[in-house]
Symmetry: C2
Subunit: 238 residues, 2 copies
DNA sequence: TAGTGGTCTAGACCACGAG
DNA sequence: TCGTGGTCTAGACCACTAC
């Protein structure tokens, strides 16, 4: 953990211990330098982090102030996390049941969305995710064979596709463009999961991109709303 | 204009003049220091700006690279807009059919969510929103009478509640915490809207806050997914 | 005038990636 | 091993706010 991160923690601790509330002024940067024994650059790094999180705000010439607290800090759908992380955050134990890994011809849609080369096939991964044993989500991930270096893996040793791409192909997912919609289960899900035909699911269609903006994989995630409460934090202008 | 900003311009100019394209490597930070005659700190400031704009990306140990330019991101649910604006953005003509405006006793939930004073009542606004005549959404807005200065309006002269609060009470909505879930229509909706009992809706439960972080109103919005395609842009870490 | 955050410099060492 | 970006220090001056 960097000194900047540590300074961030210390400042948060200071706010809590001294019971600072909305619009209270923090110690000046010079004072924080003395208090925490680090350089001003490091203090400003910590303050920049807190400002990004909307925990504080600065006014030149006046000082640094605590932001209105009642804004919930809980992160919502706008933050891209692996489903494993999300299940843990909800206090459940994540589990996975593999359904299938198959090489397929891509649909026209997929060719466009994943920017596939002519003739390039895709590999489809199907999984059931569980939260403390309860059916939480049904996941269909579609990956170009090119990304997998032409090989169709017979096993994926990771809980999360993010870890899989990071560890085996050094690809870091950074961004996902998601369509979100209500949905009934597919016939396959009714058979596999023993859910009712008219049970409600939240369906996310997502294209995942790496740092360079290249599409890496497509996913169709059916979430069980009885397990998850989905949140979105929405800002004007942002 | 700061040196950092100027350096940003110079780097963009460099990219254009040397015709760098996606994934081409930029000169190293040390090289840019020499080229532009400023300190490394300033160069890093300029690069941070460009990285935020997603014009470039960095990989530690390797270098700094030009990003793929056409990463144009349609704004999604994470941006808070009035439904009127959203309908317009989809190319439809927004319309409103008023259902009712009624003063009510708040539920316990509502007392907590809207931080109501003891005994404070709420006013419930029910509307049908249409998009070029098609049923687009069913909206239930719940407002503390305190916000309305104790009066129950018999009409709302605005298309959007945001405009209503801005124009009549000088309250600017800045943020909403939303729960998002799939839903069937309520019995009221089935009667009013002539929709099928098992038609799918996307339901958003939202608390709207003003700039000061005070809750202003609660809304339950049932969206017709046949009219809207909902998007969320999701980032790692952000 | 004094105190605050904003910008900038010069220099150092560390962590990562590739040959 | 070398070059890259990541982190950190010490010190300087500027711009804005308040008194």
């Amino acid at each position: 953990m960097s000194l900047g991160r540590k300074a961030r923690e210390s400042i948060l601790k200071y706010i809590a211990e001294n019971k600072l509330s909305a619009n209270d002024m923090l110690p000046s940067e010079a004072a924080l330098v003395e208090m925490l024994g680090v350089s001003r650059h490091t203090i400003r790094e910590a303050l920049a982090l807190l400002e990004q999180e909307r925990a504080i705000y600065k006014i030149q010439g006046k000082g640094t102030f605590v932001n209105r607290p009642p804004i919930q800090i809980e992160s919502g759908l706008e933050k891209l996390e692996s489903i494993t992380e999300i299940i843990r955050k909800f206090g459940y134990i994540p589990g996975t049941k593999w359904v299938s890994i198959e090489e397929e011809e891509p649909t026209e849609d997929m060719v466009q969305r994943l920017n596939l080369s002519p003739g390039e096939k895709v590999v489809t991964f199907k999984r059931i995710r569980t939260a403390s044993g309860k059916m939480a989500a049904f996941l269909i991930d579609t990956v170009p064979v090119g990304i997998l270096k032409g090989k169709v893996p017979d096993k994926v040793p990771c809980e999360s596709m993010f870890d899989f791409f990071k560890q085996h192909f050094n690809i870091v997912i950074e961004y996902a463009a998601s369509d979100i919609m209500p949905s009934f289960p597919t016939r396959e899900m009714v058979d596999l999961l023993k859910v009712k035909k008219n049970q409600l699911f939240l369906l996310l269609h997502q294209i995942h991109y790496d740092k360079g903006g290249h599409p890496v994989f497509y996913s169709m995630d059916y979430f069980n709303p009885e397990v998850f409460r989905f949140k979105v934090n929405r800002w004007v202008q942002g």
